[in-house]
Amino acid sequence: MISPEREALRTPAETRRSRILGVFYLLMAWLVAQVFALGTSGDAKFRLGSPDNPLDWTVSAQGLAWVVTAILGALAAIHFMRGLGKWTNGVLGVALGVFVLAFLGWAAAGVPDGFSLVGMLQASVIKATPIAFGALSGVMCERVAVINIGIEGMLITGAFVGAVVATVVNQAAGILAATLAGGVLALGLAVLCIKYQVDQIVAGVVINIFALGFTAYLGSQYLVKNTANLNQPGRLSAIKIPLLGDIPVVGTVLFNHTVFVYALFLLVAAMTYGLFRTRWGLRSRAVGEHPRAADTLGVNVLRSRYVNVVLGGMIAGFGGAWFTIGNGFPFNENMTGGRGFIGLATMIFGRWHPVGALGAALVFGFADSLQVKLSILDTGIPSEFLLMAPYIAAVVVVAGVVGKARPPAADGQPYVKE
């Protein structure tokens, strides 16, 4: 039992949240026991290796489900008794992970070929990439207090420009052009928000409608008729990193990807260092938290906002090229499918921090790839419901099951110099 002094340290809100999570865990445990444990028999085979280096893990699906039930039940008990304090969110992530594992065991039980866990994790990283770029673009803009709803438009513009330039010139030029196009669009957003002080959310929506409409217009006007000459970007090949790529499981999941994934890892590292360890980062954060104070101390608030918003747009434009060049798909109207908005949810989930954004994007990437892999297993769940998963996850995330995050204090407010 917990001592009265420690009990007194918890606020009523924390206690309530802990109880809610306890009920949530209990429900999950019940679901696992009822559906995954009692509703299955046979072994589930998880494939962990690559085709040339097989490594299988065969486990009784029912046994796995009972173990998961026990874990979830224990967590529920802990939450009812005392809560987990600062470990709450991390434990929630792990709990969701084992829940999904029990689910996969249930889905894969009795399937002779087994289920490629490594393949799914690799796909998660790939699917997370554009979402993470969108989220990083959001972090870049919102750290200087400019809300960027236009990420979706910047992604689709990057996809369009990337596809066309990659077909006409080459893939490297395509990626560069996509990056620049995102920057130009972001400059438009910056001028509307900073110079004309248009409502930032309205301005972002304007950018989206404009980008979606314009790319659709040019696409139907030109690309449809000249697919071979204008809309065949070709697929960027994956590069296996020497040594790291040979590590079993981890190597396949993380180090055998296109440049987009590696660029993402580097960008996360660079932004984390830049925002929290450099003069530029300190100034940016000051502009986002208290622009008046920053201005008083000689920081050029407006210039700082212009620079960061344009950089954010370039990140989104680069990420947009993933849809076409990174996958080898020709440009298609609306092909971003709301990934920019999921990126915004990711940014909130990741608490406006680059590393958090990457982690959150991986969760969404997982939800996204789960749907693809499950449709192969033929579980009887309609594919439409699986397709909903990332969107429902986004709603749950912004609704704050994982706790409330605090945005930069001046977020969304225009700055007028006195």
Partner: protein, 418 residues
């Protein structure tokens, strides 16, 4: 405001005079903090803005008009660049012909105007309360679908009973689909921009699924479309009595009248009722409204539910009136066009109706333009986006036409934190 200072028209300054009876009655509630805020905020303080103000008609009409002209002008440049200057007259000629010349174009204009007016009212009422409803599309889908289910289910009902029943189902469905994001906003702070967009995607997937179920799907049909709405639930056509040859093709239906009635209702609700006053108060200053004893939670849910109901009605217009059944994507993007409309109509019901008629004309005309010239239908989306850009930033209009205009779009929405 440094950017607007010198150009500010004389007509805009005496905003203080707009302090009318209602504000004076509530004077006792103004505490010092509110007064300070009113002094600080150059865009007009809380009570000043809540008070109904005299509309400066010249400014209210001039900016939208010039914005439309400028957008069509830039559209002409786009045509000149993509198709050659000779095509401009052909394209715009066809646009005008398809929108206005004859009974058929007139009917088409009203048919296209119907859903966008209703969805535009949905967005406008959200703006009045500081909420940005981008979920019109999803609310239309759910509302329209509910209407279809009622529409094909009850055989042998009198139209006098069946039509209202189906319409009410649409209103209820839309209200629920809009109310949930409102509730999430009020209870958890989940920003409605993200949740409503996610609810759009969820609605789209849900519709895809439901259209495949045997209960909904039309028997013997390969495409995923619903059963036909029974004649007793169809919204009657308004112009089929005309003594002309193609009277049977005049599609404008009772939904248009419903849209006008809804506009009147929204005006009455916002201008004449206590509920409307609460909506506007919460929109301008949630803290002030709470201080004045209003329930921000209840109001937020109510606003989103009313907005959803209006969009649901728009969906009913499409399924019960124009189409007679539900099919994938039956909402046709009206939920997104609605954002442009609400801005164009300055969130005023009369403005939204006028903007909706313009929109209907553009849509109806764009079909003819697509058929009779080399310019594709998506050009209208570009024109539409440009119109919003100019409406959102009148400074651009001012720069192009060298005229005095009112101020830009002030803060309509609230950031993540508020």
């Amino acid at each position: 405001m440094s950017t607007d200072g010198p150009d500010r028209p004389e007509g805009e300054i005496p905003e203080d005079e707009a302090l009318e009876d209602e504000a004076l009655e509530d004077e006792a509630l103004e505490d010092e903090a509110l007064e300070d805020e009113a002094l600080e905020d150059e865009r007009g303080g809380f009570w000043q803005a809540v008070a109904p103000r005299r509309i400066d008609l010249r400014s209210a009409l001039l900016v939208p008009l010039l914005a439309v002209i400028a957008a069509l002008g830039i559209g002409a440049i786009v045509i000149a660049v993509t198709e050659g200057p000779g095509e401009i007259l052909t394209a715009y000629g066809a646009l005008g012909k398809g929108a206005f010349l004859g009974w058929r174009p007139f009917s088409e204009t009203l048919t296209y105007a119907t859903p966008v007016i209703l969805a535009g009212l949905s967005v406008a009422i959200g703006f009045k309360a500081g909420l940005f409803n981008i979920g019109g599309e999803g609310q239309m889908i759910i509302g329209g679908f509910c209407a279809v289910v009622v529409g094909f289910s009850f055989e042998g009902l009198s139209p006098w009973l069946h039509v209202p029943l189906a319409v009410l189902a649409a209103i209820a469905g839309g209200a629920v689909w809009g109310g949930i994001p409102g509730w999430l906003r009020a209870k958890t702070g989940a920003h409605e921009v993200i949740t409503t967009i996610m609810f759009n995607w969820i609605a789209i997937r849900l519709l895809d699924y439901l259209l495949k179920t045997s209960f909904v799907r039309k028997a013997g049909e390969l495409r995923p479309i619903s059963k036909e709405v029974l004649p007793s639930a169809r919204l009657p056509r308004l112009l089929s009595w005309l003594p002309i040859d193609d009277a049977g093709q005049l599609r404008v239906h009772l939904g248009f009248i419903l849209a006008l009635v809804a506009a009147g209702f929204v005006w009455w609700l916002l201008a004449k009722t206590t509920i409307g006053f609460e909506f506007r108060s919460v929109g301008l200053n949630p803290d002030g409204a709470r201080y004045a004893g209003m329930s921000v939670t209840r109001t937020t849910v109510a606003v989103m539910a009313v907005a959803g109901a209006l969009a649901g009605l728009a969906g009913a217009g499409e399924t019960l009136g124009t189409l007679g059944r539900a099919s994938p994507g039956f909402s046709g993007g009206a939920g997104f066009d609605a954002i442009a409309l609400a801005l164009l109509g300055r969130s005023h019901p009369v403005g939204v109706v006028l903007a909706g008629l313009l929109w209907g004309a553009l849509r109806a005309g764009s079909r003819t333009m697509d058929a009779q010239s080399a310019v594709g239908i998506d050009l209208i989306v570009v024109v539409q986006a440009l119109i919003i850009v100019f409406i959102a930033a009148p400074a651009l209009v001012r720069a192009i036409f060298r005229v005095r205009t009112g101020e830009g779009v002030r803060q309509l929405t609230r950031g993540w934190g508020a």
